[in-house]
């Protein structure tokens, strides 16, 4: 921890009173997030199966939000390592919608280009791009583009499995497209003009 002067600590405390970041994240989250109700008990981090791979436990992220540490939170790998298992959600004594807060943090990190590792955001972007193009997920296109760009060496070890999936008819090289693409596109374009604040 870097040494701080009295002035810096006091400035930090003043800063801590500013709950605008906490409020912003809460309001951008679907449903009533209850993020403001966190009592820092740590049940979330203790319940998290992938917590050991996170830069900060969820509890710590929520404290950082309260402290206004925008860049640090949006650069943290924590929301990207969240596996959406909802263990923390059902154990949280304050019913904070933790998984949904993680989704909000990812969306904010993408929008502000704050994330450090590009592989995970680009996977999400490619998935969404395919869905917006076809209306259905397109695993073959998603997997080939993702692995070629971000993990070409991993493809060697995965070739047999990939071919097995193709051979057994579990993956198609051709995307399926819904009939109502025009309708879906109109809906999504309108939706993109709006934000939950």
């Amino acid at each position: 921890m870097p040494t701080m002067t009295d002035e810096q600590v006091r400035a930090h405390l003043t800063h801590e009173e500013d709950l605008s970041l906490l409020h912003e994240v809460s309001m951008k989250t679907a449903g009533v997030s209850r993020l403001e109700m966190c009592i820092q008990c740590g049940s979330c981090g203790g319940s998290c199966p992938s917590g050991m791979d996170m830069d900060h436990t969820p509890r710590m992220v929520f404290a950082m939000l309260r402290a206004g540490m925008r860049d640090e939170v949006l650069q943290s790998n924590t929301p990207w390592v969240c596996v959406s298992c909802y263990h923390c959600v059902v154990r949280c004594p304050q019913n904070v919608h933790i998984t949904d807060v993680m989704y909000t943090l990812k969306a904010m990190a993408i929008r502000e280009k704050k994330y450090r590792d590009v592989a995970a955001p680009e996977f999400a972007e490619t998935f969404v791009e395919m869905v917006e193009k076809y209306g259905r997920s397109y695993e073959f296109g998603l997997a080939t583009r993702h692995y070629l760009k971000h993990a070409p060496l991993r493809m060697v070890g995965m070739a047999a499995m990939g071919l097995g999936m193709l051979r057994k008819g579990r993956m198609s090289m051709k995307p399926r497209t819904i009939k109502g693409m025009d309708q879906l596109t109109a809906i999504l374009n309108k939706a993109k003009e709006m934000e939950l604040t």
Partner: protein, 332 residues
């Protein structure tokens, strides 16, 4: 017959086609009448919602709006992630009216509308237990799976977060255990029953996923399970298809097959394995099913390359074909 509006989800027509095949086989004898939503779209999985909120919920809500037009209140989803996304959109559009209004403004651009709270979103397992009933299921069993040791793998997104209090317990649910017992299988203690398979981390953070997959498989092995049984396409792919990579990562040699619960229900109802999607697993079920005297079908010679026509030049197509044949030889 009980009728349901059916949302299959993308996985059912690709990596989880064994789930689709086996569900279609058992639906009729169980009295489940499925009416597929006309022109449904992807639910966005766990990806879209982590990018852009209103579009993500509008994507889900298009399905809800189309489903509501079908005139049946109950929507059935066999996929855990789809089930949760549909249920979550319905729940949050009700809990946060501002979300519901914005999503409906977007839907209106496509001539659609959805009244939050007007549908019941239910998972197939819930329907099987609470509508069809375990006694009814038991009465239809002609080949009890006696002697088959199964690990009941329920996963995350069905019992949690459970917006409508449909499940017995968020962390130790018993529903899958009850179904497997009803068809005569020997259900082992499986502490990993409602823990995570890693979800999309097999793609974006494989080391995190491998560890979660290892825990699941080693837990099933410790309980001397012959086979794991799942209700979720994502869990099936991660444990089945990524088992090889997990083994290489840890230097282990696990051979733990995993199938959909509808496949075992189908066997118990007397269907032959080839009508239930057996043989499409990457980790073979042959040894496990031999314990109950069932032979699994050999992989079909009919490769998807022949039917689909590759979207690539013919020289590459030739190579790809050669590799497939090579892989088949190796497997033989």
């Amino acid at each position: 017959m009980s009728a349901y509006t059916f949302y299959p989800g993308c996985a059912m027509e690709s990596n989880a086609k064994a789930y689709y095949t086996s569900l279609m086989a058992v639906a009729k004898p169980l009295g489940i009448n499925l009416e597929e939503i006309e022109d449904w779209n992807c639910c966005g999985a766990t990806e879209y919602v982590g990018m852009n909120l209103i579009p993500a919920y509008s994507l889900i809500a298009r399905n809800l709006a189309l489903a509501a037009k079908m005139g049946n209140k109950t929507v059935l989803s066999p996929c855990s992630a789809c089930y949760l996304n549909l249920a979550k959109a319905d729940h949050y559009m009700t809990e946060r009216p501002a979300l519901g209004e914005k999503v409906n403004e977007a839907l209106a651009a496509g001539g659609l509308h959805y009244q939050p709270g007007s549908l019941d979103i239910r998972h197939l397992l819930d329907v099987l237990i609470n509508d069809i009933g375990l006694d009814n299921l038991k009465a239809k069993v002609v080949r009890p799976l006696k002697g088959l040791r199964v690990a009941p793998y329920m996963g995350c997104m069905v019992p949690r977060p459970d917006y409508n209090n449909r499940w017995s317990d968020a962390e130790h649910p018993v529903e899958l255990v009850e179904v497997l017992q009803a068809i005569g299988a020997e259900v082992v203690d499986f502490p990993g029953a409602a823990t995570c398979c890693g979800g999309h981390m097999t793609q974006i953070g494989p080391e995190t996923a491998f560890e979660l997959i290892r825990r699941l498989i080693s837990s099933a092995e410790r309980s001397q399970a012959d086979i794991m049984v799942t209700v979720c396409p994502m869990c099936q792919v991660n444990v089945d298809a990524y088992q090889g990579e997990t083994n290489r990562h840890f230097g282990t040699n696990y051979q733990m097959p995993i199938v959909f619960f509808t496949q075992l229900v189908g066997l118990a109802l007397g269907f032959p394995p080839d009508k239930l999607g057996f043989g499409t697993e990457i980790t073979s079920t042959e040894k496990a099913l031999a314990r109950i005297g069932v032979d699994i079908p050999k992989p079909t010679e009919d490769t998807p390359h022949k039917q689909a026509g590759l979207p690539m030049p013919s020289c590459l197509r030739k190579n790809a074909k050669g590799k497939v044949q090579h892989a088949e030889k190796e497997a033989a």
